[in-house]
Every structure is written in C-alpha cells, then in structure tokens.
Symmetry: C2
Subunit: 560 residues, 2 copies
C-alpha cells in the first residue's frame, strides 16, 4: 500500500524518474506565466500577497523565538520590511532532532509523497514567489518567474526523484537462505530501514534564493532528514515563503512542521550551526571564502558546495559570427552577469579568427562583441527586463573599479528603470587584455564584468589556457566556438580532463549560462567551482544510511 | 557493442546486480575449498606459490623504485621475507595520473569487464592468497580461505556491481528538444561522460588484508580512477599478490598497469599520499587515531573509513540458553576476537534472566558463557583452527593486561600449535563488571577480550545502555537475545535511532560478527565506527563525476 500523497503525484514522480534516466526535455511545472495555467488573477494575486507582507511579521510558529528581524534588501529600492522570527540555534536543532523519528517512520513513499505535495503547493504560489525573488535578488520579472519558480521547482523535483530512486533500490526485506549441503539450509529474514543521516543545514545565496536552495532542501528532506534553511539575509523572503508552505503541508498531514525550519541568524550563529554535532550535512551556495572555511571546518560532515569559478568561452573560429555575438551578448547581459554560470573570460587567438563574415582581428572580435551588447540593450525596456538590478553594493563597486583593471571595450552605464526609480541597473563592462596579464582574468569578478583575452600560440594554446583556468580557478560552464572538428575534439578532451560542462557553438536560443533540470547536470563536482552536482546519485545517496536487522526463519528449500 | 570481457563475465555481473537488489544469498565464488572446484592440486600449489616467494623480490614493475623492503610479520612465526619495491610518492602519483585518461576511455563496460576479469583471476588464486592471508594475519586456514578468498572477492564484486549500476544509469547521450510554440523547437544532442574523481588511495589493515581492501580498490577502479593500495606493513603479501594480478590483467588488455599500484611506504609517506592534491579519495580500515586524523586532514576529499567500536550484545532472556551460549562462544573465539565485528560487551540484567533452562543469575550467565568458551576450545585441533594466532604484539599485551581491568570469568591461556611451534595462540579472556564501571567496557579492547556487564534497571536500561555505547563509541554489530517482542522492538527502534545493524536471537550457524556480501550491509556509516558501508550507492556514486557536452541539432518534431 503506497501513501495517498504518492498516489496523487505518481505521474509527476514517474515523469521525473523517466526524465533523469533519459535526460530529454521534460517539466511538470509550466515555465510560461500563463493565466490559462496559473489562473487569470495569478499575477495580481502574487504581487498583492507580497505587498501584504510588507511591514508585517511572517509567522512560522517555530520554537525558541527570541525576537524578530527584517533582513531583506531590494536592489529595486523597494521597502519590504518583512519581519522574521529569530530562533536560537539550540532550539532549531532540538526541534529538528525531535521531528526526525516520525519522519523516518513515514517511509520512502510517505516522504516522497509529502515532498511532491510541497512542490505542487509551491508551484501554485509561483507568482508570489517570483515577486519575492525579483524584489530581493534583483532579477528581471520573467527570469524571477522562471528561474525562481518552475525551474527551481524542477530542480527540487529532480532531487526528490534521485532520492526516491536510490532509497527504493534498498528492499524493505529479504529472505536469505544459504544451502548447507546435507544439513538444513540457514535461513534468515532481513529487514532494511532507510534512515536519514541527521539534521541538514541548507545555506542559500542572495541571487538565486530558491533555485539554489530547493535541491539541497528536497534531497535532504526526502531522504529522511530535518532541514534548517539558512537563507542569505538579503533574499530571505522567497525562502521564508517556501519554508512556510512546507511547514503547512507537513502540519496538515500530521507531521512535525519542524522538519523544515527557517534560520534567520547572523554569521556567528551560522558557524555554530555548521559546527553543531547534530548537523550531519550542509548544502551551501555562495562565495569561495566561506565555502572553503566550510569544507575545512566540517570534518566528517557531508558538504555539498557550489562556490565560484572563472567560466570561459573559447572562440577559435565561427561559421555564424553574428549568431555567436548575439548569443554571447545575451549571456553577458542576462541578470547583469550575476549568475554562477555567466562567462567571465572569452579566449580569442591574438592573431584573430576565421568567420563566415571574413577574417576578424582580435580587436575586431572584442569591439564587435561590445557593439552586440550595446545593440541588444539599446531598447530600454529590453535592457531593464534582461539586466534586472545589481544585487549587492560589492558588485556595484566591482563594476566601478573594473575600468581600471584593463582596457575597456565597452563601459558600464546606469539604466533608469521606469517602474523602480531607485533600482540599480547597470549594463555590462567588457574588458580586453593579453593572456600574459593573468591578474586581470584569472579570478572571478562577480557581476557584469567580462574580459576578452588575446591568446597567442594558436588553437592548442587556447585549449590549454581554458583548461588551466578551470583547473586552477574552477568553472561551472565552458563554451567553444569553432568550425574545426579537431579543435572541438580537443576542447571535449580538455573539459573531460578538467571536469567541466562544455557547450559547443551556441548561436540560437540556448545559452552557455543556462542549465535545464533533468537534462543538464549543473556543475560537475569535479573542479574547484563545486564539489557536487544538481542532481545525480551522489547528491542524494549519502544523505541516508541503511540499518538492517536479521532473524532466523525456517528454510524454504529441502536439504540437498 | 559491449566489451568482450564484459560479455565473458556477463552472468557474474547480472547475478551480482540481481543480488544487490534482492539481497538474498548469492555468490559466484565457491567458499568451500573443494578440489572439484579449484583443482586437485590447488592446496599444494597455493602453499608452494607462497613458499617460493620467500626471500625473493616480488617484481611489480612499478615506477620510481628506490629500494626493496620486507615488511610482513607472521603471527605463526613463519619467515616470509618477501621483498617489495619501495616507490616514491611522486612517482606513484605521476604514474597513476598518467594512467587515468585511457582508463576513462575504456568506458563503463570496458572498466567493468576488466574488474570482473581481475576478480576471476584472483578467485583462481584463492589458495595462494589464503595462504598469504593466513600467514600474515594469523587467521586460521579455513577462515583465511573463506574470508580472505571468496568472501573478499564477493565484496569486491559487490562494489563493482554498485559502480556499474550507478554509472550505467547515466545515459551516454540524450536528445533534448524543447517546444517553442509556433517557432521551431530548440534541439540539442547531449553527451555524458563518466570520469573518475582522481587518484584513489586504499589503506588496508593487518587483520583482513583482502576483505577490507577489495571493496575500496574495486569501487575506485571501476569508476575510472587509478588506485594506490597501501597495505598494512605486517600483511603486505596478500595485497601485493592481488595488485600483481590486477597489473597483469591490465597489461594483457593493453591498459596501463599503473592503474593499480602497491605503496610499501612508511607512515610519513602515507601521510604525504593522503595530503597529496592529486589524491581525491581515501579508503581506510584501521585504528580510530589515524582514522580521525585522516577525516580531519583530508578536507574536500572523499573518505570512506572503517574505524572501531564497542560491539555489544544484549541478553534480556532466552528460549534457547545453550544455543545462545554456543553461538556467543564461537563468536568470541573466532580469530581470537580480532574482527571489527566481534562482540566487546555483553549486557545482562543485574537481576538475572529467564531462560528455557530456568532462571539464571548474572553471575551464572557470565560463568556459563565462560564454560561454553572453554568447552568449545577444549579440543586443541578445534582451538587452533578457530582461534588462529594473535596478529600483533599490542594485542598480546592487551590480553595480558586485561586480567587487571575487572573480575576475570575466564582467563586467557596459550595454546600450543602442532604445525607452527612459534605461533602466538591465545584463548579469549572473559571479564565481568558492573555497569557503573564504564572505564572497563566503554572502549574497544581489540582482540579476544570481552566483558559481561551487569546492568540494573530492567530491559529499558539494557536497551538504553546498548544505544549509548553505540552513540558514543560506535559499533559495527549489535545483537539481542530476548523472548519478549517488546524488548526486541525496543532494540529495533534503538538500533535504528543510533544506526547500527541488529542480529536477533542467533543460536545456530549464523554469528553476529559475520556479514554476508550482497545481503548484509557491513557497517552503516551512521555511527562513529564507520562513515561508509560495504556496499551501497553512497560507496560508489561520489567516486565518479559526469562531464557533459551539448550541441545544437535539428529538431525532430514539427513546430506547433
């Protein structure tokens, strides 16, 4: 007998299980914000729901509340002032531990069903969550809806599907019968119980408060663990709404809502959570400094970390020069390059490239890319919709300082936002430099800052530099443009050696910085940018353990 | 087209895949040392092969040989004096790294086929390896044959099966096609390559030089990594023979033999191997001191560690008192308790127990167990066959010192060995104490030392103490004897909370310290005794990563 919630969502689970095995295109959560799907009033309802929260206390009914704090900061200049409960580390941990035994007893089917129900409820609130994502992260609205809504839900579902696959491979029981020659066989009944490792901590980032939080949250929850979600302070609201939905679903189904808790805590308390012996796994998306501290200070804990890197694109030649420039211009502009997958360095032969539009010198390639970005963003409505706003002061500062780092191909400009006059909108900076000036491009400059690098020494040098950047700095994405199969092959080999995903000759509607759930593995876990991937077996299989018991039973076979 | 070696061993792989899914009894490697299976001369051949190695250089043709050393020490007092090449850490690492790309290109089927062939060849040399295991570890001959031969091979095969299952779940390629409404669909071909994480280090132990080495060795090798096997110095020979077989198979199939290398190095070089940036995973079986150093000093590396614990058995009551005593006497005697799974503490109600042989006081239970051990070992031939020899000086010392720790129920005695006059054979020490004297039993005393603990407070106190021992000290095995379902249920709940395998009322031919491949998970990874299990998805799935590439192709569907 399966769990009623699993029966209800069986088609979604089956679809996800098929998708992770075949890795074609699939999603149960429509990415178009269509009134036909989400309801005629969905857009207004979502905006109203977020507006109604302004200045109020978001009640989560969590234990150990010592006060209330407002943490969100809107790059659009919108005042949110939503108050969140501040709970003590000890209270959060104690409540999480107390909630786990019954969650374990819910079994694989029960937990999976509950997770699918939470995702379905989150999906129905996509407009509200999108509004919260947009206002806190600075994403443009459409991106906030898609990446913060359905695409984030896809990533959560993907994690649930992997967890279900791995957990259900463990049989609930087995009959073991070992022949003993002329004597009766030895026979045992063995029972196997999947148990969560222990309290899971999921630390979110400011730019993708749902997309980078749901995978760890649902992977840990589905595998039998209580989860403490610690959002980035500036983007607390989307996580808080998601946690509240999860708690509502758990409560409605007779489970302890403290299986999912929100930790609105400072850095000291975050470090205390990391170090707490009850915390057995940590998911983290964010800067390499804290990430490395985490990996070094959580010995014996499972850490799933996505840090940063220097994503790069190699342009060796092109049979669609205009398409390539358009494609790269979009990549560099989208969300002002504030994606962990945005290209940071573009490697071009110092001697120029062959294209379908004739030979192009290095300087021409750089200038043409700058012009393509300028043209793409020339319409202010497109510009504000695509760029969104700059999430942090640190990124604004980096943009200002970028002009002093190298030769400026295209300078960053502020763009006024018609709807949000205080929004900090900036166009990308494009720099160029020689490969010898490694200080310019051999580091991540988070935000809309990209450097075109002149690389002497032909195709082999391009490939070698791309590989070395990934080996030393890490990367989530690498792209290559080339008309020559040997060059593409060399990039395939190099990216396999160094462990990074490769996009080849993207010139139309797929971009190097995009990663589709169920099909694209986001990060490989094989280079310094991340030690895990969304999502694969490794992302879920060590979040639970198997505890067995065995007892003698009568043998079924006659003695030989 | 699959690999010819995979075709050849397909039935073995299919059997293993079925076995890990159903977890019934299964093995392709006969555990009986029958001449019908292994050949009429197998026993003599095996002994002769090992004897022929005495005083010779075991040539492995490894790189960077700086000298030769003999490391083995036989608890039977047999001189082995096999010389092994000493290779520099840098040479081993460089050779391992150089060997990996072609191994990766061999693909999932190729690597699996080669691993199965290595195992088949190891199986054919079971008598030789058994002889090497016996002479170095001190195991009795039959145990050395079974645990060091077929059962170890089973555990290696189990790891290969899990690795194959997880790797083959990743499709080689996918067609991804996303509808675009009235526009043509976006379509891409995606290719997914399984790549090993990097050089794997497998650190073996002195007592089970093959059983505890093969799982990590084959899990790492099958998933695309080069493996450096670092045996315990005292038991180098069984690992060296296994490594030589692996290297022969690799060479014969056109692969780089340096995919499997032997590191006969001192502790300083071992620590250098652990710390080397190229080493990405470490399997370790051994003492908690080095184990904890390892877990703390290998940040960012995958560590699979089996340390130690205080395995315990709760005796609440019994409906087969004699069977229980016989069963425990065997467990405590087998290989002189030098198993990581041997019971170290037996928890008995201070007020005594109900049995089918009447009420037994605590002192009677302790005395009866002592008598059962004495009776079981009264025949010298049985005693030497079951006890084997004491592997280390440290264990001999612990046996001597045990008598001063608590009240002696049964004293340890030396047993002369007819065949090996210098063999250090000892019968077990049985101690008894009150639960209040935690210093006596709340630590592992490795070897044939077990304490019967008088626990006041009824069944609940027994269960609570068993749980606390596992939580604080770790355990690989827990047993319970009880006629009362509520007590058994309480033990089931407790062992699930604390994450340890439970054996219930073992009175016949299965023993708490035995773990059957494909059916019993050895260790849970959920308590301090170990952070991993033989074998499960978690044991293999993070040893490889997936690197993808994607490129546009023509859509197959017409636009909507």
């Amino acid at each position: 007998m399966t769990h009623p919630l699993l029966d209800q969502h069986r088609a979604t689970l089956d679809g996800a299980l098929k998708a992770i095995a075949t890795r074609g295109y699939w999603s149960p959560y429509p990415e178009m914000p269509s009134p036909k799907v989400y309801g005629d009033t969905a857009m207004d309802d979502g905006k109203r729901a977020v507006a109604a929260l302004t200045g109020t206390k978001l009640e989560l009914d969590q234990p150990g509340v010592s006060g209330w704090t407002a943490a969100d900061r809107s790059p659009y200049g919108v005042t949110l002032d939503v108050q969140y409960p501040v709970c003590s580390v000890d209270a959060l941990i104690a409540a999480a531990e107390a909630a786990m035994p019954a969650w374990q007893q819910a079994g694989i089917d029960g937990r999976t069903g509950v997770c699918l129900e939470i995702l379905a409820r989150i999906n129905r609130r996509s407009f509200e969550i999108a509004q919260a994502v947009m206002l806190t992260s600075g994403q443009g609205w459409m991106m906030a809806f898609q990446a913060g809504g359905p695409h984030a839900q896809d990533r959560g579902l993907e994690a649930v599907a992997y967890a279900y696959r791995e957990m259900s491979f463990v049989p609930g029981q087995a009959h073991w019968e070992k022949p003993q020659g002329k004597n009766p066989a030895l026979a045992m009944r063995k029972e196997y119980q999947v148990v969560g490792r222990g309290v899971a901590l999921v630390i979110g980032c400011a730019t993708f408060p749902t997309w980078n939080t749901y995978p760890g949250l649902f992977a840990a929850l589905a595998t039998g663990n209580a989860v403490i979600v610690k959002p980035h302070p500036a983007s607390t609201l989307p996580a808080a709404i998601s946690v509240k939905i999860a708690r509502d679903v758990l409560r409605e189904h007779g489970l302890d809502p403290n299986l999912v808790q929100l930790a609105v805590v400072d850095e000291e308390a975050t470090r205390a959570l990391v170090a707490h012996p009850a915390v057995k796994s940590i998911d983290f998306t964010g800067g390499p400094a804290f990430g490395r501290w985490l990996i070094e200070h959580a010995p014996g804990k499972q850490v799933y970390a996505e840090l940063a890197g220097v994503n790069n694109v190699v342009i060796e030649s092109s049979d669609n020069y205009k398409g390539m420039l358009r494609n790269l211009a979009f990549t560099l502009s989208l969300y002002s390059g504030q994606m962990c997958t945005t290209t940071k360095a573009i490697l071009v032969p110092a001697e120029g490239i062959d294209t379908d539009a004739g030979r192009k010198s290095f300087d021409e390639v750089a200038a043409d890319l700058g012009a393509a970005i300028e043209k793409f963003l020339s319409d202010p409505a497109t510009a504000t919709a695509v760029l969104g706003a700059i999430q942090s002061e640190a990124t604004l500062k980096r943009i200002e300082e970028a002009a002093a780092v190298a030769t400026v191909v295209l300078a960053s400009k502020p763009v006024p936002h018609p709807e949000f006059p205080q929004a900090q909108v900036r166009t990308p900076v494009l720099l160029k430099t020689d490969a010898s000036r490694e200080g310019v491009y051999m580091q991540e400059r988070f935000g809309p800052i990209c450097t075109v690098v002149a690389v002497p020494g032909g195709a082999a040098a391009l490939v070698a530099l791309s590989e070395r950047i990934v080996r030393e700095q890490g990367a989530l994405t690498v792209g290559v443009y080339s008309k020559n199969e040997p060059v593409i092959d060399a990039m395939v080999q190099a990216t396999q050696r160094v462990g990074v995903a490769l996009s080849i000759n993207l010139t139309s509607g797929v971009f190097v910085n995009q990663s589709a759930a169920f099909s694209d593995f986001h990060a490989t876990g094989a280079n310094p940018a991340a030690n895990a991937s969304y999502a694969d077996s490794a992302f879920v299989s060590n979040r639970f353990r198997v505890v067995q018991r065995r007892v003698h039973v009568a043998p079924t076979a006659a003695a030989a």
